[in-house]
Amino acid sequence: MEKQVNLNDFYRKKYMTYQKKENFVQDLNPLVKLNILLAIGIICVLLTDFKWRLAICALYYVIAFAGKKFRSFGLLFTGLAISFLAFLSVIRQLSVEGSHVLFSIFGWKWTMEGWESALDMTMTLCGFSGAVILFFTLTEMRDLMYALEKKGVSHVTSYVILASMQTITDLKKTSQTIMDSQRARGVETEGNLLVRVKALVPVISPLFLSALTSAEEKAISMDARAFSVKRDHTFLRELQPAPIYEVILAVIVDLCLIALIGMKITGRLG
């Protein structure tokens, strides 16, 4: 009996209050967070000055650190930034004509112009990508979907997004199993291009077919869970509605963006 009281209390405490991570950055309302980060991302793309852009990218790291997600954000973002820089450096050296030679490798002249173009493009991509990656490392998808549902997005949309993520995980696991078993059965997965392409069919086709048949049962079982009953839903997990100071914060960032766009249009900025 005592145990039951404890469990009831435990879960009431857990769910009757708003879901919090006890971290200011992570606990920002998902839509406010999305607004702020996207606005910063666009600002970063619009600003042409290298120093400003670098500062914004540094800011991403700071926000990630404050949100206790420095490691996961850092790994993903830095990796992406390096790959952009590496590819673009080579490509732009080849495609952008320039006269200011920096150095040359076996007669291949690296120019200042090519380098600047690569760096500029990298910063543009990183400025935008950083904001998006940061948002998703700081926000769980289910929280974003909750916030959207509260704004009137259908629970069907929410289901499709969340179920897609789970299905990706599930099918990736299954595909690995199928692949291993096909290999064990002697289906060649290595060799020339044609051999490898042929190996794809026996892997993808059973995967898709079993998933297709399972969709039928999924439809029935979700139906049994009142998925399509038209009633107002309740939410077990609830997030705090955006407090006024969060909204103000978002508005300030948005105003900065608008001001910047204004300056861009009137030509007061590069």
């Binding site: 490509i91 991509l125 998006v132 289901y159 997004i161 897609s164 993808i204």
Partner: protein
């Protein structure tokens, strides 16, 4: 009487969208595992488009790109292509295109042109009217260097080559899948009938 029936149909379709999305991701992953120089990230979009129609196909494309953008944000700008692939797949399916070898070649060309063309344009804009990152630039940049053609033309050719090759493999795999779907499942899919009627020895008892 017809209305609730339709509703029911849509419901099944709803649960197929996540599967289409997952197939797109898994295709990409397997292509990577096997070391194939293709994306294979649109098999799910094409298949759901062909089996369920315009809207589900488009939805699979959109959701796939959005989820991909979580780890690779520039992908979000390529969403229109994925959506279009879903839509076109549904339209072609309606016109029986996926059932004849001759037409399948036409499909590959259509997808290659649309996918390659649009992605060339989008890349061109995102990358500041310059070449993008690989794999297209493996073709476009050398092409530009060797022949000195117009940069956009090079990007377009590179993009088209990669896309046509990718779509060729995707379409072939997808047609194989379509053929293997059991009839019982097909009866529940909006465009499933297209792939059932083919069988001449089936008596019409529905």
């Amino acid at each position: 009487m017809t209305k609730p029936k339709k509703q029911k149909m849509d419901k099944m379709v709803l649960f197929l969208i996540p599967i289409g999305v997952a197939i797109n991701f898994v295709g990409g992953q397997i292509a990577g595992n096997l070391g194939l120089p293709v994306y294979l990230d649109s098999i799910g979009t094409m298949a759901i488009g062909a089996l369920c129609g315009v809207f589900p196909g488009a939805a699979v494309g959109l959701v796939s790109n959005l989820l991909n953008a979580v780890t690779y944000p520039p992908n979000v700008f390529y969403a229109p292509i994925s959506i279009l692939i879903g839509i076109i797949s549904a339209l072609l399916s309606n016109k029986d295109y996926f059932k004849k070898v001759g037409k399948i070649i036409a499909i590959i060309a259509i997808f290659g042109l649309i996918g390659g063309g649009m992605s060339a344009v989008i890349t061109w804009i995102i990358y500041g009217f310059e070449f993008g990152v690989p794999p297209t630039s493996y073709i476009s940049v050398p092409l530009y260097k060797a022949l000195g053609l117009n940069k956009f033309l090079c990007e377009f050719i590179g993009s088209f080559c990669i896309d046509a090759f990718d779509k060729a493999i995707s379409v072939i795999i997808m047609v194989g899948i379509l053929k293997a779907i059991p009839k019982r499942t097909l009866t529940k899919l909006p465009l499933g009938e297209i792939y059932i009627k083919e069988d001449p020895d089936e008596d019409d008892d529905v």
